[in-house]
Structure formats: C-alpha cells, structure tokens
C-alpha cells in the first residue's frame, strides 16, 4: 500500500468520525456553555452586588439582581480612610516594581543557567527552587526585622522585594526552561558575527522568549496585586496600605466588627478588574508561555 493510499484511507476514517462527532458536538457545545456560565457566575454576582444600594447589599436573605443601582458602596470604598486612589497606587506601584525586579533578576539568571557552563549549576538551580517549599508566612518575621534595620518597612520597594523573593523560584523555572528551548542556531550566527553575550541575550533570546517573559510578568503581577500577609506585616502606616488590606478591613468595617458587604463586593470587583483585563489583553503570549515553558 502506497503512502498516498494510506493517507487517503486515514482521511476517510477521520472524516467519518468527524461527522459522527458533529451530532455529539452539540451536546458538548452545550456543556461548554454551561461551564462558562458556572465559571463566570460568581464574578457577575459580585459585580451586581457591588452596585446594590447599601441596605439591599446587607439584606438577608439576599436578592439576586439589584433592585436599584447605586454607587454607594464604591463611594464608601473611594473615601475609606486614606482613600482608594492611595491604595490603588500602592498596589499598582508595588506590582510594577515586583515585575521589574523579578525580570531583572531571572532573565539573566535563566540565561546563565541555560547557556553557560557554570560549575554546580544544577545544584544552584535546585537550591534556588527550594524556597518554593518553605511556607513564606514564617519567614515574614525575620524579613520584617531585616527590612526594619535597613529602613525598607512601609515602602513599596520593600514590599516589592518581598514579593519578588516569593515569585523568584517559579519565574526562574519558567524562564530557564524557556531559554533552554530556544534553538541554538539563532544565536550561533550572531556569535560568529562577534556579538557579546549581552547582545545575544537582548537581541535574540529575549524576543524569542516573549511568551515566557509575559507569563512571568503576569504571574508576578497577580501575586503582588493580591498579596495580603506580607503587606500587613511590612506596612504600619495607613498611607502605605495596599488594596488587599482594605478588603480585609471591609470585613470588620461596620460598628463593632460587622461586615460591610457592599463595600466588600466593590473592593472585590476593583481587585478583579485589572487582573482580568491584563490577562485578556496578553492572553496570546501568556497561554503559549505556560504551555511551552512548563511542559518540560
């Protein structure tokens, strides 16, 4: 049997199967829609709850759809203590710094581990990853004392450093794998032309691993944006608080420790929006980054 005949036979079988699948395809399509609904429902409900008037938001039992629209909860959140803009600025600033620090450290380090003959580099790699298994909650007190000595408490830089330390192992893992996977032919030509290692990194490897870099940046952003305990430990001035601290406060906000449900939902909604937006915009890079960088 020639190759052509074999191929045609395969194609025939595939086509038959595809037609059979077409019928069950509707069922599976319905399943997909159901799954999407289940995944989105909690988020949608939270957004809806955040635009309910205060009394309705605190009603028991709750209503599904808002009976009236009101931005009361957002107003309360906006003017809460130092004001939402301050907290947003702090959260955003920390997250951006964390991304910068993470990339500045892990891109060169991944490059070194992927391309250079460093003695004991496998050992070093494993050691750098070890931080993944230590619960960072217990490391917070020693880190706090360290930061206090060098004046990094109550600063965004300090918190960003903490976040970078937490994110480093994962980021390094992804970047090293990704950089290793770049075909060497790309660099060889440049090296023959006399390019330095730095130029090779910047001009060739970085563009080739954009998906992994975007992945690392996105995970660093999400982690930093949502991190709570470290921020609580490092920040003792209201003006340095980040958004998650305010969300925690909303739970004991009304007189004598009651939950302000409306403000909580408003806070949840505001926390979610940047993450989802960044994800949707960068999806293309990010998804392929995960798929290529991790399955090695």
């Amino acid at each position: 049997m020639t190759a052509t005949v074999a191929r045609r036979q395969r194609a025939g079988v595939v086509a038959t199967r595809a037609r059979a699948r077409g019928r069950s395809g509707y069922l599976l399509g319905a399943v997909c829609v159901a799954i999407c609904a289940v995944m989105l429902a909690p988020l949608v409900m939270s957004v809806l709850a955040s635009v309910k008037p205060t009394a309705e938001a605190a009603a028991s039992p709750p209503t599904y759809l808002p009976h009236g629209l009101s931005l009361d909860s957002y107003e309360r959140l906006w003017t809460y203590q130092q004001g939402l803009p301050t907290y947003l600025f702090n959260s955003l600033g920390t997250a951006l710094l964390a991304i910068a620090f993470t990339l500045a450290l892990t891109v060169p380090a991944g490059y070194a581990l992927a391309r250079f003959e460093i003695p004991g580099k496998e050992v070093i790699f494993v050691v750098l990853l070890l931080a993944l298994i230590v619960p960072y909650q217990a490391l917070l007190t020693p880190m706090f004392l360290l930061f206090a000595r060098v004046g990094l408490t109550n600063t965004l830089v300090g918190l960003a450093i903490l976040h970078t330390a937490i994110q480093l192992p994962f980021s390094l893992y992804v970047l090293r794998n990704s950089l290793s996977a770049v075909p060497r032919e790309l660099e060889e030509a440049a090296i023959v032309d006399g390019a330095s290692s730095w130029q090779v990194l910047l001009r060739i490897l970085v563009p080739a691993t954009v998906p992994a870099i975007v992945t690392v940046a996105l995970f660093a952003f999400i982690m930093s944006w949502n991190e709570f305990l470290g921020a609580l430990v490092l920040m003792s001035r209201g003006s340095s608080f980040t958004l998650p601290l305010i969300l925690a406060a909303a739970r004991t906000e009304t007189s004598l420790g009651g939950t302000d449900w409306g403000m909580l939902q408003a806070g949840v909604t505001i926390s979610i929006i940047p993450c989802v937006l960044v994800y949707l915009l960068l999806q293309r890079y990010y998804v392929s980054g995960l798929m290529s960088g991790a399955v090695k």
Binding site: L43, P62, E117, V127, L128, P135, A138, L290, M291
Partner: protein
C-alpha cells in the same frame, strides 16, 4: 555554547544578582528562622534557648497533628479533582473552534484573580444568611433552611473551600494539559482511529501516556500548593470550628503572629518544609521510574 574560563565568569556574573538576592532575602531569613526554632521568643521579651524543645513539643502537640492530618485530607481530596477535572476540561477544549477557545479562556479567568479575592468572594457566596448559594438552594427547594457551610462543621467547610479553590485553580491544570495534548503528533492519533479505536480508548491508550509528564507536573504543583494552603482557610473559616480546619501553615501563622511564639512557629515551618521535600522527592522518584 559559551565555553572557556572567561565565559564561565561571565555566566556567573549573570547569575550573581539572583543568587545574591536569594542569599540576602531568602537564605538569611531562613537561617534566622532556623536559629529561632531553637529558642522561645515572643518579640517583646528576649529569646531563650530551648534546643530541640520546640521540635519535641510539636510531636506531642495535638493541634499540630490535627492540622497536619486535615491538610493531608484536604490535599488528598482536592488533587484528584483538579487533575481529573483539569484533564477532562482540556480534552473538551483542545479543539480550535471558537466556542472551545472561549471556554478555555473563561475557565482560566478565575486563575488570574488571586486566591485572597477568590476566597472573599466565596466567603460571601457561602454565607449562611447573606449569600446567594443558600438562597438559590432554598428557592429551588433543595434545602428548607440555610445550610451553615463555613466554620461549623469541618468536613462541610472543607468541601465548600475545595469547591471554591477548584473553581479558581482548575484552569491552570487545564491549560497545561491542553498544551501537552496539542503537542501529541496528529499522525499517531489518526493512526489509532484507523485501527478502530473509540474516543475513550484513544484518550487512555494514546493521549494519556504521551502527556503523562504534564499530569505528573500538575500533580506535583497541586500537592505542594495544597500542603502549603493558608489564605483560603484564613479567610473562609479562620480555622473554625475549634481549629479543626486550621491547616499546617495556618497553625504556623497562629504561632508566629497572634500567639507570638516565634520559635515554635519556626520549628513547625521547618518540619513542614522537610515533609514537603520528602513528598516531592518521593514523587519525583516515582516519576523517574515510570519513565525509565
């Protein structure tokens, strides 16, 4: 690629910033934590040397075991759900049709929103009197009075939290599996079709074995993450009832902060880290054997 003594130094120069950073901000605090574990220290009183006292105390501490066993239970239940669920979702959405891609995107959205926010969201959803889940269940006639999901019964709280974490995290496994499944060469799958294999036979005999590596990776990540679980329990049950839903890391947190027993918290952390290391090594060994 780059060889020779000089390139070795250049390589170390690239590696140096990360290594120095880790030495200062991870290894040094870790060293201090080890030191702390041999002392009793409450921050506002001077530290007192106790040698291995904290470790001995942990072994005899009832709450330590309660926390550890609960954490194991949580891990044992949620990991298969994440693996199987993630894999099924991957199989469902692996095709490149618009609907499937939309599903994939949607399932992944909860992954990007942060565990703390997700826990708060589900804390509200599961609230006995203020949350929509009970209201919906009552409206549908499934229950007649509000169910106390969180903080009253350890197993029920566990299930509620598992539901919320599954919602949040499943997309991560799904995406990795999709990547692995898409990497399976199509002629192999087509060949099996010619041989008359049904869909599920194809999945179990062909696709699964070829994507085993990703399954093991996701399992490993899931297990480590679950053993280190904290945020969701802190936010949704605060360890209630009676510390039965306080995971290992939650107990470490309690000792390190409100109870101000820093030495003990440090000792517990080290014990946990070593336990996880042991788990990981075992898992990696099993992986290597199955590949060999």
């Amino acid at each position: 690629m780059f060889r020779g003594r000089r390139s070795r130094l250049v390589g170390m120069a690239y590696l140096a910033p990360a290594v120095i950073f880790v030495l200062v901000f991870t290894v040094y605090p870790l060293g201090q934590m080890v030191w702390m574990s041999f002392h009793n220290w409450s921050l506002i009183t001077p530290p007192r040397w106790v040698g291995l006292g904290n470790y001995q105390r942990a072994l005899a501490d009832r709450q330590y075991w309660v926390s550890f066993l609960f954490t194991l239970k949580y891990t044992a239940i949620i990991t298969p759900i994440l693996i199987v669920g993630g894999y099924l979702l991957a199989l469902l959405t692996v095709e490149r049709s618009p609907l499937r891609r939309l599903t994939r995107t949607t399932v992944f959205i909860p992954v990007v929103i942060g565990l703390g926010v997700s826990s708060l969201l589900w804390y509200w959803l599961f609230s006995a009197d203020f949350g929509p889940i009970n209201k919906a269940l009552m409206d549908l006639g499934i229950i007649s009075k509000p169910v106390l999901w969180l903080g009253v019964d350890a197993d029920r709280s566990n299930l509620a939290i598992i539901a919320s974490v599954t919602w949040k995290v499943m997309g991560f496994g799904m995406i990795l599996f999709v990547g692995a499944i898409q990497a399976v060469p199509t002629d192999i799958t087509e060949a099996s079709l010619v041989d008359g294999a049904s869909y599920w036979q194809r999945v179990t005999r062909v696709i699964l074995p070829l994507t085993l590596r990703s399954v093991l990776l996701v399992t490993l990540v899931s297990v480590i993450g679950s053993l280190l679980a904290f945020d969701q329990f802190y936010i949704m049950t605060a360890g209630q009832p009676q510390n039965e839903t306080a995971t290992s890391v939650f107990y470490i947190y309690l000792n390190s902060f409100p109870y101000l027993r820093l030495g003990y918290g440090a000792a517990l952390s080290l014990i946990l880290a070593l336990t996880i290391l042991a788990f990981t090594v075992v898992q990696l060994l099993l992986t290597r054997r199955s590949h060999a």
